[in-house]
Symmetry: C2
Protein backbone atom coordinates (compact mmCIF):
# COMPACT_ATOMS: atom_id res chain seq x y z
CA UNK A 1 0.00 0.00 0.00
CA UNK A 2 1.49 3.33 -1.10
CA UNK A 3 0.51 5.11 2.13
CA UNK A 4 3.08 3.02 4.05
CA UNK A 5 5.74 5.30 2.59
CA UNK A 6 4.38 7.94 4.96
CA UNK A 7 5.91 5.99 7.89
CA UNK A 8 9.49 6.80 6.88
CA UNK A 9 10.75 7.44 10.44
CA UNK A 10 9.54 4.05 11.65
CA UNK A 11 12.12 1.26 11.69
CA UNK A 12 11.02 -2.01 10.08
CA UNK A 13 10.20 -3.79 13.35
CA UNK A 14 7.31 -5.85 14.71
CA UNK A 15 5.68 -2.60 15.93
CA UNK A 16 5.56 -1.07 12.46
CA UNK A 17 4.25 -4.41 11.13
CA UNK A 18 1.51 -4.44 13.80
CA UNK A 19 0.37 -0.95 12.73
CA UNK A 20 0.41 -1.66 9.01
CA UNK A 21 -1.29 -5.05 9.44
CA UNK A 22 -4.03 -3.54 11.59
CA UNK A 23 -4.75 -0.82 9.02
CA UNK A 24 -4.76 -3.41 6.23
CA UNK A 25 -7.29 -5.51 8.16
CA UNK A 26 -9.77 -2.71 8.94
CA UNK A 27 -9.57 -1.16 5.47
CA UNK A 28 -9.73 -4.54 3.72
CA UNK A 29 -12.78 -6.53 2.66
CA UNK A 30 -12.48 -9.21 5.35
CA UNK A 31 -14.45 -9.72 8.59
CA UNK A 32 -12.41 -7.03 10.39
CA UNK A 33 -13.51 -4.28 8.01
CA UNK A 34 -14.43 -1.02 9.74
CA UNK A 35 -16.45 1.55 7.79
CA UNK A 36 -14.66 4.92 7.34
CA UNK A 37 -17.13 6.75 9.65
CA UNK A 38 -16.05 4.46 12.49
CA UNK A 39 -12.31 4.83 11.83
CA UNK A 40 -11.54 7.13 14.75
CA UNK A 41 -8.03 7.54 16.15
CA UNK A 42 -7.36 9.34 19.45
CA UNK A 43 -3.94 10.24 20.81
CA UNK A 44 -2.80 11.60 24.12
CA UNK A 45 -0.47 14.59 23.67
CA UNK A 46 2.19 14.91 26.43
CA UNK A 47 4.64 12.03 26.10
CA UNK A 48 2.69 10.59 23.16
CA UNK A 49 2.79 13.22 20.42
CA UNK A 50 5.44 15.43 21.93
CA UNK A 51 8.03 15.43 24.69
CA UNK A 52 6.91 15.88 28.33
CA UNK A 53 10.30 15.95 30.13
CA UNK A 54 11.87 17.48 32.16
CA UNK A 55 8.39 18.95 32.59
CA UNK A 56 5.27 19.17 30.40
CA UNK A 57 5.46 22.08 27.96
CA UNK A 58 2.18 23.52 29.23
CA UNK A 59 3.66 23.55 32.72
CA UNK A 60 6.62 25.58 31.43
CA UNK A 61 4.10 28.06 29.97
CA UNK A 62 2.23 28.29 33.26
CA UNK A 63 5.51 28.58 35.18
CA UNK A 64 6.52 31.58 33.11
CA UNK A 65 3.20 33.27 33.80
CA UNK A 66 3.31 32.45 37.55
CA UNK A 67 6.89 33.73 37.82
CA UNK A 68 5.77 36.98 36.18
CA UNK A 69 2.94 37.23 38.71
CA UNK A 70 5.35 36.66 41.65
CA UNK A 71 7.69 39.25 40.18
CA UNK A 72 4.85 41.75 40.27
CA UNK A 73 3.41 40.78 43.68
CA UNK A 74 5.85 40.19 46.59
CA UNK A 75 3.25 38.26 48.67
CA UNK A 76 3.11 35.46 46.08
CA UNK A 77 6.83 34.64 46.36
CA UNK A 78 6.37 32.49 49.49
CA UNK A 79 3.22 30.73 48.28
CA UNK A 80 2.94 27.63 46.10
CA UNK A 81 2.83 27.29 43.17
CA UNK A 82 4.22 30.83 42.64
CA UNK A 83 7.19 30.05 44.92
CA UNK A 84 8.26 27.08 42.81
CA UNK A 85 7.73 29.06 39.62
CA UNK A 86 9.73 32.03 40.82
CA UNK A 87 12.57 29.87 42.22
CA UNK A 88 12.56 27.64 39.12
CA UNK A 89 12.00 24.67 41.45
CA UNK A 90 11.43 22.12 38.68
CA UNK A 91 11.53 19.22 41.15
CA UNK A 92 8.36 20.41 42.92
CA UNK A 93 6.62 20.96 39.61
CA UNK A 94 7.57 17.75 37.84
CA UNK A 95 6.66 15.85 41.02
CA UNK A 96 3.07 17.06 40.77
CA UNK A 97 2.10 14.77 37.90
CA UNK A 98 4.12 11.84 39.27
CA UNK A 99 2.27 12.17 42.59
CA UNK A 100 -1.02 12.44 40.69
CA UNK A 101 -0.46 9.09 38.99
CA UNK A 102 0.37 7.64 42.39
CA UNK A 103 -3.01 8.82 43.68
CA UNK A 104 -1.90 11.95 45.56
CA UNK A 105 -3.59 15.06 44.13
CA UNK A 106 -2.40 17.62 46.71
CA UNK A 107 0.10 19.04 44.23
CA UNK A 108 -2.44 19.11 41.42
CA UNK A 109 -4.88 21.03 43.64
CA UNK A 110 -2.27 23.64 44.57
CA UNK A 111 -1.09 23.96 40.99
CA UNK A 112 -4.62 24.20 39.63
CA UNK A 113 -5.38 27.00 42.07
CA UNK A 114 -2.45 28.94 40.68
CA UNK A 115 -3.34 28.20 37.08
CA UNK A 116 -6.92 29.32 37.57
CA UNK A 117 -5.79 32.64 38.99
CA UNK A 118 -3.10 33.00 36.35
CA UNK A 119 -5.49 33.10 33.43
CA UNK A 120 -8.83 34.22 34.90
CA UNK A 121 -10.28 37.13 32.96
CA UNK A 122 -8.26 36.48 29.80
CA UNK A 123 -10.22 35.99 26.62
CA UNK A 124 -9.89 32.69 24.81
CA UNK A 125 -8.22 34.52 21.92
CA UNK A 126 -5.61 36.21 24.12
CA UNK A 127 -4.80 32.89 25.78
CA UNK A 128 -4.48 31.05 22.47
CA UNK A 129 -2.15 33.69 21.05
CA UNK A 130 0.08 33.63 24.15
CA UNK A 131 0.24 29.82 24.08
CA UNK A 132 1.03 29.83 20.36
CA UNK A 133 3.87 32.34 20.76
CA UNK A 134 5.31 30.40 23.70
CA UNK A 135 5.36 27.06 21.87
CA UNK A 136 6.64 28.41 18.56
CA UNK A 137 9.40 30.60 20.02
CA UNK A 138 10.21 29.15 23.47
CA UNK A 139 13.27 26.92 23.77
CA UNK A 140 13.18 23.46 25.35
CA UNK A 141 15.45 23.49 28.45
CA UNK A 142 17.64 20.51 27.39
CA UNK A 143 16.89 19.56 23.78
CA UNK A 144 18.37 21.93 21.23
CA UNK A 145 14.98 22.95 19.86
CA UNK A 146 11.94 25.17 20.16
CA UNK A 147 9.02 23.53 22.00
CA UNK A 148 7.31 23.20 18.63
CA UNK A 149 10.26 21.10 17.47
CA UNK A 150 9.67 18.60 20.31
CA UNK A 151 6.83 16.86 18.47
CA UNK A 152 7.64 13.28 17.52
CA UNK A 153 8.21 12.99 13.78
CA UNK A 154 7.06 9.30 13.65
CA UNK A 155 3.77 10.22 15.35
CA UNK A 156 3.13 13.05 12.89
CA UNK A 157 3.73 10.50 10.14
CA UNK A 158 1.35 8.08 11.85
CA UNK A 159 -1.40 10.76 11.90
CA UNK A 160 -0.96 11.30 8.15
CA UNK A 161 -0.83 7.55 7.48
CA UNK A 162 -4.09 6.97 9.37
CA UNK A 163 -5.77 9.91 7.61
CA UNK A 164 -4.62 8.53 4.25
CA UNK A 165 -6.55 5.41 5.26
CA UNK A 166 -9.72 7.38 6.05
CA UNK A 167 -9.25 7.62 9.80
CA UNK A 168 -10.35 10.79 11.55
CA UNK A 169 -7.60 11.74 14.00
CA UNK A 170 -8.04 13.49 17.34
CA UNK A 171 -5.90 14.61 20.24
CA UNK A 172 -7.40 13.43 23.56
CA UNK A 173 -5.13 14.86 26.19
CA UNK A 174 -5.05 15.50 29.91
CA UNK A 175 -3.46 18.82 28.97
CA UNK A 176 -5.42 21.99 28.45
CA UNK A 177 -7.50 21.94 25.28
CA UNK A 178 -7.08 25.63 24.58
CA UNK A 179 -3.31 25.49 25.10
CA UNK A 180 -3.05 22.89 22.33
CA UNK A 181 -5.58 24.21 19.85
CA UNK A 182 -3.57 27.07 18.42
CA UNK A 183 -0.50 24.94 17.80
CA UNK A 184 -2.19 21.66 16.85
CA UNK A 185 -2.90 22.72 13.28
CA UNK A 186 0.62 24.11 12.86
CA UNK A 187 2.50 21.18 14.40
CA UNK A 188 0.22 18.16 13.96
CA UNK A 189 -2.05 19.25 11.13
CA UNK A 190 -5.10 18.82 13.40
CA UNK A 191 -7.82 21.49 13.25
CA UNK A 192 -9.21 22.94 16.53
CA UNK A 193 -12.41 20.89 16.43
CA UNK A 194 -10.30 17.73 16.72
CA UNK A 195 -8.51 18.73 19.92
CA UNK A 196 -10.03 17.30 23.13
CA UNK A 197 -8.55 18.09 26.54
CA UNK A 198 -8.94 19.59 29.99
CA UNK A 199 -10.72 22.90 30.35
CA UNK A 200 -11.30 25.77 32.71
CA UNK A 201 -14.79 27.22 33.07
CA UNK A 202 -15.78 29.86 30.54
CA UNK A 203 -18.25 32.73 30.50
CA UNK A 204 -19.79 34.45 27.50
CA UNK A 205 -19.72 38.22 27.98
CA UNK A 206 -22.65 39.08 25.74
CA UNK A 207 -22.15 42.84 25.73
CA UNK A 208 -18.45 42.72 24.82
CA UNK A 209 -19.14 39.66 22.62
CA UNK A 210 -16.21 37.65 23.92
CA UNK A 211 -15.50 34.46 25.87
CA UNK A 212 -13.37 34.76 29.02
CA UNK A 213 -11.92 32.30 31.53
CA UNK A 214 -13.37 32.09 35.02
CA UNK A 215 -11.19 31.19 38.02
CA UNK A 216 -12.91 27.78 38.16
CA UNK A 217 -11.87 24.39 36.82
CA UNK A 218 -14.23 22.63 34.45
CA UNK A 219 -13.05 19.17 33.38
CA UNK A 220 -9.76 17.38 34.12
CA UNK A 221 -9.61 15.09 31.12
CA UNK A 222 -7.58 12.17 32.43
CA UNK A 223 -8.07 8.53 33.34
CA UNK A 224 -11.76 7.45 33.31
CA UNK A 225 -12.78 10.90 32.07
CA UNK A 226 -10.99 10.41 28.73
CA UNK A 227 -13.52 7.91 27.30
CA UNK A 228 -16.36 10.27 28.32
CA UNK A 229 -14.78 13.31 26.72
CA UNK A 230 -14.00 11.39 23.55
CA UNK A 231 -17.50 10.00 23.34
CA UNK A 232 -19.06 13.39 24.10
CA UNK A 233 -17.11 15.08 21.34
CA UNK A 234 -17.00 12.35 18.71
CA UNK A 235 -20.16 10.37 19.31
CA UNK A 236 -18.34 7.08 18.94
CA UNK A 237 -15.43 4.97 20.15
CA UNK A 238 -11.89 5.21 18.87
CA UNK A 239 -10.62 2.13 17.07
CA UNK A 240 -7.02 3.35 17.30
CA UNK A 241 -5.81 4.88 20.58
CA UNK A 242 -2.32 5.94 21.58
CA UNK A 243 -0.99 6.95 24.99
CA UNK A 244 2.03 6.68 27.23
CA UNK A 245 0.95 6.83 30.86
CA UNK A 246 -1.44 5.45 33.47
CA UNK A 247 -3.83 8.28 32.65
CA UNK A 248 -4.34 6.72 29.23
CA UNK A 249 -5.35 3.25 30.44
CA UNK A 250 -9.12 3.85 30.26
CA UNK A 251 -8.89 5.42 26.81
CA UNK A 252 -6.90 2.42 25.57
CA UNK A 253 -9.38 0.08 27.25
CA UNK A 254 -12.26 1.94 25.56
CA UNK A 255 -10.80 1.56 22.06
CA UNK A 256 -12.53 -0.87 19.75
CA UNK A 257 -15.60 -2.22 21.54
CA UNK A 258 -17.12 -4.61 19.00
CA UNK A 259 -14.56 -3.46 16.41
CA UNK A 260 -10.91 -4.50 16.19
CA UNK A 261 -8.65 -2.08 18.09
CA UNK A 262 -5.07 -0.94 17.83
CA UNK A 263 -3.73 0.21 21.20
CA UNK A 264 -0.34 1.92 21.19
CA UNK A 265 1.71 2.69 24.29
CA UNK A 266 4.82 4.83 23.80
CA UNK A 267 7.79 3.59 25.87
CA UNK A 268 10.37 6.26 26.72
CA UNK A 269 13.58 4.23 26.63
CA UNK A 270 15.99 6.42 24.70
CA UNK A 271 18.09 8.61 27.02
CA UNK A 272 20.34 9.73 24.16
CA UNK A 273 17.75 11.03 21.74
CA UNK A 274 14.86 11.79 24.13
CA UNK A 275 14.39 10.57 27.73
CA UNK A 276 14.37 7.25 29.59
CA UNK A 277 11.62 6.83 32.19
CA UNK A 278 8.65 4.65 33.12
CA UNK A 279 7.50 6.71 36.10
CA UNK A 280 3.73 7.23 35.90
CA UNK A 281 3.42 4.48 33.29
CA UNK A 282 4.01 1.35 35.38
CA UNK A 283 0.39 0.14 35.43
CA UNK A 284 -0.10 0.94 31.76
CA UNK A 285 3.00 -1.10 30.86
CA UNK A 286 1.67 -4.03 32.92
CA UNK A 287 -1.66 -3.84 31.10
CA UNK A 288 0.19 -3.72 27.77
CA UNK A 289 2.05 -6.90 28.70
CA UNK A 290 -1.02 -8.83 29.91
CA UNK A 291 -3.51 -7.57 27.30
CA UNK A 292 -1.30 -7.50 24.24
CA UNK A 293 -1.25 -3.75 23.68
CA UNK A 294 1.40 -2.63 21.20
CA UNK A 295 4.38 -1.03 22.97
CA UNK A 296 6.26 1.50 20.82
CA UNK A 297 9.92 1.66 21.83
CA UNK A 298 11.45 5.01 20.95
CA UNK A 299 14.88 3.37 20.97
CA UNK A 300 14.06 0.49 18.66
CA UNK A 301 11.02 1.51 16.62
CA UNK A 302 11.89 5.06 15.58
CA UNK A 303 14.77 5.84 13.22
CA UNK A 304 14.23 9.54 13.82
CA UNK A 305 12.58 11.18 16.87
CA UNK A 306 12.17 14.90 16.10
CA UNK A 307 11.44 16.72 12.83
CA UNK A 308 14.74 18.62 13.04
CA UNK A 309 16.93 15.58 13.81
CA UNK A 310 18.61 13.17 11.38
CA UNK B 1 -23.80 29.85 -8.87
CA UNK B 2 -24.97 26.29 -9.50
CA UNK B 3 -25.34 25.50 -5.79
CA UNK B 4 -28.32 27.89 -5.58
CA UNK B 5 -30.37 25.17 -7.24
CA UNK B 6 -30.10 23.33 -3.93
CA UNK B 7 -32.49 25.92 -2.41
CA UNK B 8 -35.48 24.68 -4.40
CA UNK B 9 -38.00 24.95 -1.54
CA UNK B 10 -37.16 28.60 -0.92
CA UNK B 11 -39.42 31.16 -2.59
CA UNK B 12 -37.63 33.93 -4.48
CA UNK B 13 -37.97 36.56 -1.76
CA UNK B 14 -35.69 39.05 -0.03
CA UNK B 15 -34.81 36.34 2.53
CA UNK B 16 -33.48 33.97 -0.10
CA UNK B 17 -31.60 36.86 -1.69
CA UNK B 18 -30.04 37.75 1.68
CA UNK B 19 -28.78 34.18 2.09
CA UNK B 20 -27.41 33.87 -1.43
CA UNK B 21 -25.82 37.32 -1.34
CA UNK B 22 -24.13 36.59 1.98
CA UNK B 23 -22.68 33.33 0.70
CA UNK B 24 -21.48 35.07 -2.48
CA UNK B 25 -19.74 37.73 -0.39
CA UNK B 26 -17.87 35.39 1.97
CA UNK B 27 -16.87 32.95 -0.78
CA UNK B 28 -15.89 35.74 -3.20
CA UNK B 29 -12.55 37.54 -3.54
CA UNK B 30 -13.70 40.83 -1.97
CA UNK B 31 -13.03 42.27 1.49
CA UNK B 32 -15.74 40.07 3.08
CA UNK B 33 -13.98 36.84 2.10
CA UNK B 34 -13.94 34.21 4.85
CA UNK B 35 -11.48 31.31 4.56
CA UNK B 36 -13.16 27.87 4.39
CA UNK B 37 -11.80 26.84 7.84
CA UNK B 38 -13.73 29.76 9.36
CA UNK B 39 -16.97 29.03 7.51
CA UNK B 40 -18.88 27.56 10.43
CA UNK B 41 -22.68 27.37 10.49
CA UNK B 42 -24.61 26.48 13.66
CA UNK B 43 -28.34 25.80 13.87
CA UNK B 44 -30.70 25.32 16.74
CA UNK B 45 -32.84 22.20 16.29
CA UNK B 46 -36.34 22.49 17.86
CA UNK B 47 -38.34 25.06 15.89
CA UNK B 48 -35.37 25.76 13.60
CA UNK B 49 -34.59 22.48 11.83
CA UNK B 50 -37.74 20.63 12.79
CA UNK B 51 -41.14 21.23 14.30
CA UNK B 52 -41.49 21.82 18.07
CA UNK B 53 -45.29 22.06 18.43
CA UNK B 54 -47.58 21.06 20.06
CA UNK B 55 -44.58 19.93 22.12
CA UNK B 56 -40.89 19.30 21.39
CA UNK B 57 -40.30 15.84 19.93
CA UNK B 58 -37.81 14.96 22.65
CA UNK B 59 -40.48 15.80 25.21
CA UNK B 60 -42.83 13.34 23.51
CA UNK B 61 -40.10 10.70 23.81
CA UNK B 62 -39.58 11.46 27.49
CA UNK B 63 -43.35 11.50 28.07
CA UNK B 64 -43.69 8.03 26.65
CA UNK B 65 -40.94 6.76 28.95
CA UNK B 66 -42.40 8.54 32.01
CA UNK B 67 -45.88 7.19 31.29
CA UNK B 68 -44.41 3.69 31.10
CA UNK B 69 -42.73 4.27 34.46
CA UNK B 70 -46.03 5.49 36.04
CA UNK B 71 -47.79 2.49 34.57
CA UNK B 72 -45.29 0.25 36.35
CA UNK B 73 -45.20 2.18 39.66
CA UNK B 74 -48.49 3.41 41.19
CA UNK B 75 -46.76 5.94 43.48
CA UNK B 76 -45.52 7.96 40.50
CA UNK B 77 -49.04 8.61 39.16
CA UNK B 78 -49.66 11.56 41.51
CA UNK B 79 -46.20 13.10 41.13
CA UNK B 80 -44.97 15.51 38.44
CA UNK B 81 -43.77 15.04 35.80
CA UNK B 82 -45.05 11.42 35.78
CA UNK B 83 -48.60 12.64 36.49
CA UNK B 84 -48.66 14.87 33.40
CA UNK B 85 -47.09 12.14 31.30
CA UNK B 86 -49.55 9.49 32.44
CA UNK B 87 -52.60 11.79 32.05
CA UNK B 88 -51.31 13.12 28.70
CA UNK B 89 -51.50 16.63 30.19
CA UNK B 90 -49.81 18.36 27.25
CA UNK B 91 -50.66 21.81 28.63
CA UNK B 92 -48.45 21.29 31.68
CA UNK B 93 -45.65 19.99 29.56
CA UNK B 94 -45.68 22.53 26.76
CA UNK B 95 -45.90 25.27 29.39
CA UNK B 96 -42.56 24.22 30.83
CA UNK B 97 -40.47 25.70 28.03
CA UNK B 98 -42.67 28.79 27.71
CA UNK B 99 -42.22 29.45 31.44
CA UNK B 100 -38.48 28.86 31.03
CA UNK B 101 -38.20 31.58 28.41
CA UNK B 102 -40.16 33.87 30.74
CA UNK B 103 -37.56 33.25 33.45
CA UNK B 104 -39.45 30.68 35.56
CA UNK B 105 -37.51 27.41 35.76
CA UNK B 106 -39.71 25.57 38.30
CA UNK B 107 -41.19 23.39 35.55
CA UNK B 108 -37.80 22.69 34.01
CA UNK B 109 -36.45 21.59 37.40
CA UNK B 110 -39.34 19.19 37.96
CA UNK B 111 -39.15 17.85 34.43
CA UNK B 112 -35.37 17.46 34.57
CA UNK B 113 -35.69 15.47 37.79
CA UNK B 114 -38.01 13.07 36.01
CA UNK B 115 -35.83 12.86 32.93
CA UNK B 116 -32.74 12.10 34.98
CA UNK B 117 -34.50 9.24 36.73
CA UNK B 118 -36.04 8.04 33.48
CA UNK B 119 -32.75 7.29 31.79
CA UNK B 120 -30.24 6.77 34.62
CA UNK B 121 -28.31 3.53 34.20
CA UNK B 122 -29.02 3.20 30.48
CA UNK B 123 -25.98 2.91 28.25
CA UNK B 124 -25.45 5.60 25.61
CA UNK B 125 -26.01 2.97 22.92
CA UNK B 126 -29.36 1.80 24.36
CA UNK B 127 -30.55 5.38 24.65
CA UNK B 128 -29.53 6.26 21.10
CA UNK B 129 -31.29 3.21 19.69
CA UNK B 130 -34.50 3.98 21.61
CA UNK B 131 -34.43 7.63 20.47
CA UNK B 132 -33.80 6.59 16.87
CA UNK B 133 -36.71 4.12 16.85
CA UNK B 134 -39.04 6.70 18.42
CA UNK B 135 -38.23 9.42 15.88
CA UNK B 136 -38.26 7.17 12.83
CA UNK B 137 -41.47 5.31 13.70
CA UNK B 138 -43.41 7.59 16.07
CA UNK B 139 -46.27 9.65 14.61
CA UNK B 140 -46.60 13.39 15.14
CA UNK B 141 -49.86 14.09 17.07
CA UNK B 142 -51.34 16.55 14.52
CA UNK B 143 -49.26 16.54 11.33
CA UNK B 144 -49.79 13.49 9.14
CA UNK B 145 -46.21 12.32 9.45
CA UNK B 146 -43.62 10.44 11.43
CA UNK B 147 -41.51 12.65 13.70
CA UNK B 148 -38.65 12.17 11.25
CA UNK B 149 -40.83 13.72 8.58
CA UNK B 150 -41.23 16.91 10.64
CA UNK B 151 -37.81 18.24 9.60
CA UNK B 152 -38.04 21.39 7.48
CA UNK B 153 -37.16 20.65 3.88
CA UNK B 154 -35.87 24.20 3.19
CA UNK B 155 -33.48 23.97 6.17
CA UNK B 156 -32.12 20.61 4.97
CA UNK B 157 -31.55 22.30 1.60
CA UNK B 158 -29.82 25.20 3.36
CA UNK B 159 -27.44 22.78 5.13
CA UNK B 160 -26.48 21.24 1.77
CA UNK B 161 -26.18 24.65 0.13
CA UNK B 162 -23.83 25.89 2.86
CA UNK B 163 -21.77 22.68 2.69
CA UNK B 164 -21.52 23.05 -1.09
CA UNK B 165 -19.93 26.42 -0.32
CA UNK B 166 -17.38 24.89 2.08
CA UNK B 167 -19.22 25.65 5.30
CA UNK B 168 -19.01 23.12 8.12
CA UNK B 169 -22.49 22.74 9.55
CA UNK B 170 -23.41 21.96 13.16
CA UNK B 171 -26.53 21.54 15.25
CA UNK B 172 -26.29 23.66 18.44
CA UNK B 173 -29.47 22.85 20.32
CA UNK B 174 -30.92 23.23 23.78
CA UNK B 175 -32.24 19.71 23.24
CA UNK B 176 -30.39 16.62 24.36
CA UNK B 177 -27.29 15.93 22.28
CA UNK B 178 -27.61 12.17 22.49
CA UNK B 179 -31.30 12.24 21.53
CA UNK B 180 -30.38 14.00 18.27
CA UNK B 181 -27.19 12.20 17.34
CA UNK B 182 -28.67 8.97 16.10
CA UNK B 183 -31.18 10.68 13.85
CA UNK B 184 -29.08 13.67 12.74
CA UNK B 185 -27.16 11.74 10.12
CA UNK B 186 -30.35 10.10 8.82
CA UNK B 187 -32.53 13.23 8.71
CA UNK B 188 -30.10 16.13 8.36
CA UNK B 189 -26.99 14.44 6.96
CA UNK B 190 -24.98 15.63 9.99
CA UNK B 191 -22.52 13.15 11.58
CA UNK B 192 -22.52 12.71 15.39
CA UNK B 193 -19.41 14.84 15.94
CA UNK B 194 -21.31 17.83 14.56
CA UNK B 195 -24.21 17.63 17.03
CA UNK B 196 -23.90 19.95 20.05
CA UNK B 197 -26.57 20.02 22.75
CA UNK B 198 -27.56 19.53 26.37
CA UNK B 199 -26.22 16.54 28.25
CA UNK B 200 -26.70 14.44 31.31
CA UNK B 201 -23.68 13.32 33.31
CA UNK B 202 -21.97 10.15 32.13
CA UNK B 203 -19.80 7.51 33.75
CA UNK B 204 -17.35 5.12 32.13
CA UNK B 205 -17.79 1.63 33.53
CA UNK B 206 -14.29 0.35 32.85
CA UNK B 207 -14.94 -3.28 33.65
CA UNK B 208 -18.03 -3.61 31.47
CA UNK B 209 -16.42 -1.22 28.95
CA UNK B 210 -19.52 0.90 28.50
CA UNK B 211 -20.73 4.46 29.11
CA UNK B 212 -23.88 4.91 31.22
CA UNK B 213 -26.04 7.87 32.27
CA UNK B 214 -25.97 9.09 35.84
CA UNK B 215 -29.05 10.65 37.47
CA UNK B 216 -27.32 14.06 37.30
CA UNK B 217 -27.62 16.89 34.83
CA UNK B 218 -24.47 18.08 33.12
CA UNK B 219 -24.98 21.05 30.78
CA UNK B 220 -28.22 22.80 29.75
CA UNK B 221 -27.13 24.20 26.42
CA UNK B 222 -29.35 27.25 26.06
CA UNK B 223 -29.03 31.03 26.06
CA UNK B 224 -25.56 32.24 27.11
CA UNK B 225 -24.31 28.65 27.30
CA UNK B 226 -24.73 28.13 23.54
CA UNK B 227 -21.72 30.28 22.53
CA UNK B 228 -19.58 28.44 25.12
CA UNK B 229 -20.62 25.01 23.92
CA UNK B 230 -20.06 25.97 20.30
CA UNK B 231 -16.66 27.42 21.03
CA UNK B 232 -15.68 24.44 23.19
CA UNK B 233 -16.56 21.99 20.45
CA UNK B 234 -15.56 23.89 17.34
CA UNK B 235 -12.72 26.12 18.53
CA UNK B 236 -14.13 29.09 16.63
CA UNK B 237 -17.16 31.29 16.07
CA UNK B 238 -19.98 30.54 13.70
CA UNK B 239 -20.33 32.95 10.80
CA UNK B 240 -23.84 31.65 10.02
CA UNK B 241 -26.24 31.01 12.90
CA UNK B 242 -29.91 30.07 12.79
CA UNK B 243 -32.44 29.94 15.61
CA UNK B 244 -36.07 30.63 16.41
CA UNK B 245 -36.40 31.53 20.09
CA UNK B 246 -35.09 33.68 22.93
CA UNK B 247 -32.72 30.86 23.84
CA UNK B 248 -30.89 31.47 20.55
CA UNK B 249 -30.20 35.19 21.07
CA UNK B 250 -26.70 34.77 22.46
CA UNK B 251 -25.71 32.31 19.72
CA UNK B 252 -26.94 34.75 17.08
CA UNK B 253 -25.12 37.59 18.87
CA UNK B 254 -21.93 35.50 18.92
CA UNK B 255 -21.97 34.86 15.16
CA UNK B 256 -19.39 36.65 13.08
CA UNK B 257 -17.13 38.59 15.44
CA UNK B 258 -14.65 40.30 13.09
CA UNK B 259 -16.14 38.35 10.17
CA UNK B 260 -19.40 39.10 8.35
CA UNK B 261 -22.31 37.17 9.87
CA UNK B 262 -25.62 35.81 8.62
CA UNK B 263 -28.16 35.55 11.43
CA UNK B 264 -31.39 33.72 10.64
CA UNK B 265 -34.47 33.71 12.86
CA UNK B 266 -37.29 31.36 11.85
CA UNK B 267 -40.74 32.95 12.26
CA UNK B 268 -43.58 30.47 12.78
CA UNK B 269 -46.43 32.23 10.97
CA UNK B 270 -48.07 29.47 8.96
CA UNK B 271 -50.99 27.89 10.84
CA UNK B 272 -52.10 25.94 7.77
CA UNK B 273 -48.87 24.15 6.91
CA UNK B 274 -47.11 24.21 10.31
CA UNK B 275 -47.91 26.39 13.36
CA UNK B 276 -48.43 30.07 14.13
CA UNK B 277 -46.79 31.34 17.34
CA UNK B 278 -44.27 33.83 18.68
CA UNK B 279 -44.43 32.69 22.31
CA UNK B 280 -40.88 32.34 23.66
CA UNK B 281 -39.47 34.30 20.71
CA UNK B 282 -40.63 37.85 21.52
CA UNK B 283 -37.24 39.22 22.57
CA UNK B 284 -35.46 37.49 19.70
CA UNK B 285 -37.90 39.06 17.21
CA UNK B 286 -37.28 42.50 18.74
CA UNK B 287 -33.52 41.99 18.40
CA UNK B 288 -34.00 40.90 14.78
CA UNK B 289 -35.91 44.10 14.09
CA UNK B 290 -33.40 46.42 15.75
CA UNK B 291 -30.20 44.64 14.69
CA UNK B 292 -31.13 43.66 11.16
CA UNK B 293 -31.17 39.88 11.66
CA UNK B 294 -32.77 38.00 8.78
CA UNK B 295 -36.27 36.78 9.69
CA UNK B 296 -37.35 33.68 7.78
CA UNK B 297 -41.14 33.60 7.36
CA UNK B 298 -42.40 30.07 6.91
CA UNK B 299 -45.52 31.48 5.23
CA UNK B 300 -43.74 33.67 2.70
CA UNK B 301 -40.24 32.29 2.27
CA UNK B 302 -40.84 28.56 1.99
CA UNK B 303 -42.69 27.03 -0.96
CA UNK B 304 -42.57 23.66 0.78
CA UNK B 305 -42.29 22.98 4.52
CA UNK B 306 -41.82 19.22 4.97
CA UNK B 307 -40.02 16.63 2.82
CA UNK B 308 -43.26 14.69 2.30
CA UNK B 309 -45.44 17.70 1.36
CA UNK B 310 -45.92 19.33 -2.04
Amino acid sequence: MASEELLSSWTDTATRTAIVDYVARVTGDGPDHVVPEERIATFDNDGTLWCEKPLPIQLAFILKRLAEMAEADQSLKSKQPWKAAFERDYAWLSGVMTKHYEGDDSGVTSLMGGILQAFAGQTVDEYEQAAYAFVMNGRHPTLDSTFAGCAYQPMIELLRYLEANDFTTYIASGGDRDFMRGIASEIYGLPPERVIGSTNALRYDEEADRIVYLAEPDVFDDGPVKPLRIWSRVGGRPTVAGGNSNGDIQMLNFAGGAMPALRLLILHDDADREFDYTSGAETALQRAATDGWTVVSILNDWSRVFPGSQ
